[in-house]
């Protein structure tokens, strides 16, 4: 079975359009983040989460909110009250933005207050299923750790690709990966998913995944450069993207299948994680095809040095690349 029978799309022709579309999404994301903020998970923002399980059919969220507002004026409005898990679990998650005391023995006071408020509010019998209380110091620590983990993993990938391929390829791969991060953040903002530890883990996984896609295409470009010395980079890149297109689409498909399985069945905790993976897989695939190679080509055409391949310049004028053993088999 073949998805594409000898595809021959001119992907690079769309490069400016693709770059424009990406900018559009990223800027829209930035605007949403600027105006509405990016909702932070409790690990990052600090705060108190109480998960309660009702013995019978749980009340409406507004009943819980009223009970909170009654006992802790002003806080019921700011609380986030959501169903937790499946309907049949009869669980609610209640999140209030602050903790009892900054730190110390009183850290869990807020959680106790929430429980007391519910008891007093006559919302039906329930028992606590779990609590999570994070002081403000932890969030700061994690934010900086998360930021550095992302920066270092990008740098690591840049160095590795620069070492294994050409520098222009590394630039293309890293810009594509940064692009994926920004687009993922934009979608998190559009769909109001909390930026939690799990989501950060998914984002870091996406950096790895998206680089994979890019490497596969670049590998083919490198191989084709050897065999197609007479063509220019533009054609070589286009051909390489087309040759690997079947693989790109299938891999994205299987990865999506597993991410969707997680999204649908993985439970409440993994919801944001799976969503991030789905967005990341789609944008990662898109950016490998439309962004990474295009950037490499654009970069080379701007900053090309003698001895390297040039975009749409007659190959006769460019000196041949460092010779490898002649007589290698051509790719196709």
């Amino acid at each position: 079975m073949l998805i594409f029978k000898t595809p021959n799309f001119d992907f690079l022709r769309w490069r400016w359009f693709a770059i424009g579309l990406s900018w559009l999404i990223i800027i829209a994301g930035a605007v949403v983040i600027k105006t509405n903020g990016l909702p932070l998970g409790v690990e990052f923002s600090g705060g108190t989460i109480v998960i309660v399980q009702f013995d019978q059919q749980p009340p409406d969220p507004s009943v819980i909110r009223n009970a909170l507002e009654h006992a802790m004026p002003g806080e019921g409005q700011n609380a986030i009250i959501q169903r937790y898990g499946q309907e049949s679990a009869r669980q609610y998650m209640i999140r209030v933005p602050d903790v009892g005391e900054q730190a110390g023995a009183g850290l869990s006071q807020k959680a106790d207050h929430v429980m007391a408020a519910l008891k007093a509010g006559n919302v039906g019998s329930f028992k606590p299923a779990g609590t999570q209380i994070v002081g403000p110091a932890v969030g700061e620590d994690l934010r900086s750790k998360g930021k550095w983990a992302m920066i270092f993993s990008l740098l690591g990938i840049l160095l590795y690709i620069a070492f294994r391929f050409q520098f222009s390829f590394a630039v293309g791969a890293v810009i594509a990966t940064v692009h994926d991060l920004l687009v993922t953040f934009a979608f998190l903002a559009f769909f109001r998913y909390d930026l939690s530890l799990n989501v950060i883990a998914a984002i870091l996984t996406v950096t790895g995944y998206s680089t994979n896609d890019t490497i596969v295409i670049f590998d083919r470009v490198r191989e084709n450069i050897r065999g197609m010395r007479r063509d220019n980079l533009y054609d070589i890149v286009n051909k390489s993207v087309n040759q690997t297109l079947g693989r790109t689409v299938i891999t994205a498909g299987t990865a999506l299948l597993s991410a969707v399985a997680l999204f649908l069945f993985g439970g409440e905790v993994l919801h944001g994680f799976a969503f991030t993976m789905i967005v990341g897989i789609v944008t990662g695939t898109y950016s490998s095809v439309f962004i990474a190679a295009a950037i490499a080509v654009i970069w080379q055409s701007r900053f090309r040095k003698p001895g390297k391949l040039a975009l749409s310049a007659p190959t006769a004028s460019a000196p041949p690349p460092k010779t490898r053993k002649p007589g290698r088999r051509r790719a196709s």
């Binding site: 983990a149 270092f152 994979n212 597993s258 439970g267 905790v269």
Partner: protein
């Protein structure tokens, strides 16, 4: 050639059986009550707190406390020495946890004072002279750093002893975070969070001190005979709220006997049949205690716990090595107090930064969801590969199952912990892992399309893609490694799963899958490949 293939098949099967035995069989055995040898049970896949339920706490050690004790003690020793050398001094005061300030040393005594001070303090403190007989003593930075480190280590050990006395199975108590002053405490299966927290955090700094003045109803009353000012070497301590004593006591800063001099602590009752804690002292402690009580018969002896007076009793006779802490305690309080005294005082106060309680039902929900997602993901991926690649899809599925078995086996073998994000990593390993097979198969298709023979196409497919696979796996490993660095608990479980999945994937997609192709081809010569 044939021998070569047989060897490869045996290797693959051997690897499969070993990892199946370590990683998968114990799970099946538990579920279906099959016999499980002890050496296999010992290497089981551990479940993380998020799946098992329990308490997760992050504490910060207030290392300043520990430094302040040293600074205070040093400054008081210097005061004693200066006093006995008859050097007049206006004030010796602790200014920060790591420094103290001396004022009013006369010019003619300067040489004598500096000699004396260096004798007493030079090991740990730097001395800076100011104008008019003032001196600033600052703790040497390397000493302070070592002391902070010691305080954290000692706190961790103390918490460990306390948790062990509580009888929690498989607790995890470890240093945590970047700032090097945080401790992670994980207590699987614990439900009484409040008590666990109280016992862990109770500093239990015990001091036995002679009362210089008081008890008095208010601080002004207490300090009447001192012109309303607390003498520099003394401090005011209040009665503990828990015992209903709100009066004020004046006592020396440095204690005669401290918690370090304790040899044992146990629950007992006092003369009124109320619960009390009995303690006995070490030889050194008993000597000091005997001297102090002998010299102060008729005066009040205060038992100070965490800077609050829990009881103050008149010394009737010289006491040597036994004592009792009495007050209005419940039996539970007494048991916990004896426990924390027995396990040693914490060197510094602790504060909670983070607290998470995962009820057993939440953990069970997570396991159920994780298993469901894994099965659905597996079915989807397997179904797709079989439909799209037909018989070669079987090859990919075998490689995939190998991959998962090795993943589980390796995780069990190295004692990694399976967390909910770890399960997600497991599911993703299936979806992204088949990429290696896809890459190879697509390449084989290309080679076949170029009219190469089946065998040549397969060989070319594997050999040409190998470098690509290496590159993609290294790039993924780079991001997984930083994820591991960044992560804590559950996220580390995820990173671990990814790393192991990547490594085993490289093996199964290049070695196992190729062996399968070769095994089939060695049986029959085909002109067609079902791919």
């Amino acid at each position: 050639m044939n021998k070569n293939i047989r060897w490869k098949i045996l290797t693959s099967l051997g690897v499969f059986i070993i990892f199946f035995a370590v990683g998968v069989y114990p799970i099946l055995a538990q579920r279906y009550h099959l016999p499980l040898p002890g050496w296999l049970a010992a290497k089981q896949l551990k479940l993380g707190l998020d799946l098992k339920g329990g308490v997760h706490l992050v504490l910060r050690v207030q290392t300043d406390d520990a430094l302040k004790i040293t600074t205070t003690t040093t400054s008081e020793q210097l005061r004693e020495a200066v006093k006995s050398a008859n050097i007049p001094v206006t004030s010796i005061a602790v200014t920060t946890p790591t420094s103290f300030h001396v004022e009013g040393i006369p010019q003619d005594k300067d040489a004598e004072f500096t000699r004396l001070a260096d004798d007493q303090t030079a090991v740990n403190f730097e001395r800076n002279s100011g104008a008019g007989g003032t001196y600033e003593f600052t703790m040497r930075p390397n000493i302070a750093a070592t002391m902070r480190e010691q305080a954290v280590t000692q706190a961790r050990e103390t918490i460990e002893r306390r948790v062990n006395e509580l009888g929690v199975a498989e607790p995890n108590i470890s240093l945590y975070g970047q700032t090097a002053d945080q401790i992670l405490v994980q207590l699987p299966g614990v439900t009484d969070v409040a008590r666990a927290k109280e016992i862990i955090r109770n500093t239990a700094i015990l001091a036995l001190k002679i009362v210089e003045a008081g008890p008095a109803g208010s601080q002004e009353q207490l300090l009447q005979q001192f012109n309303g000012k607390v003498p520099e070497d003394m401090e005011v301590v209040q009665g503990a709220a828990a015992t209903g004593d709100s009066s004020f006591y004046l006592m020396r800063k440095v204690a005669a006997v401290t918690g370090r001099d304790l040899r044992a602590a146990r629950t007992t009752i006092d003369e009124n049949n109320r619960p009390a804690v009995g303690f006995s002292l070490t030889n050194e402690g008993a000597r000091k205690f005997g001297k102090v009580t002998g010299e102060n018969i008729g005066r009040l002896l205060a038992i100070v716990l965490d800077n609050r007076v829990v009881s103050a009793a008149r010394i009737e006779t010289k006491i040597n090595d036994e004592g009792r802490i009495t007050g209005t305690f419940t039996p539970q309080q007494v048991a916990d107090l004896a426990l924390v005294l027995r396990t040693g005082a914490l060197p510094a106060g602790l504060t909670y930064l983070e607290e998470q309680v995962i009820g057993p039902s939440l953990g069970a929900d997570s396991i159920r969801a994780g298993v469901t997602a894994s099965l659905v993901g597996l079915l989807l991926v397997v179904g797709f590969m079989l439909i799209y690649y037909r018989l070669s899809g079987v090859n990919a599925v075998v490689a995939l199952i190998f991959n998962l078995v090795i993943l589980l086996g390796l995780m069990a073998y190295i004692g990694a912990t399976m967390t909910l994000p770890g399960i997600a990593g497991f599911v993703l390993t299936m979806g992204i892992g088949v990429d290696s097979n896809v890459l190879i198969f697509e390449r084989i298709k290309e080679e076949l399309a170029a009219q190469r023979g089946v065998r040549a196409s397969i060989n070319a497919g594997f050999s040409r893609v190998f470098l690509t696979l290496l590159d993609t796996h290294v790039a993924s490993l780079i991001s997984a490694a930083f994820l591991f660095q960044f992560g804590t608990g559950p996220i580390r479980g995820f990173a671990m799963t990814l790393v192991i999945g990547l490594i085993s994937n490289l093996f199964t997609s290049t070695f196992v899958s190729k062996t399968l192709f070769e095994a089939v081809l060695s049986h029959r010569q085909t002109a067609e490949l079902s791919i």
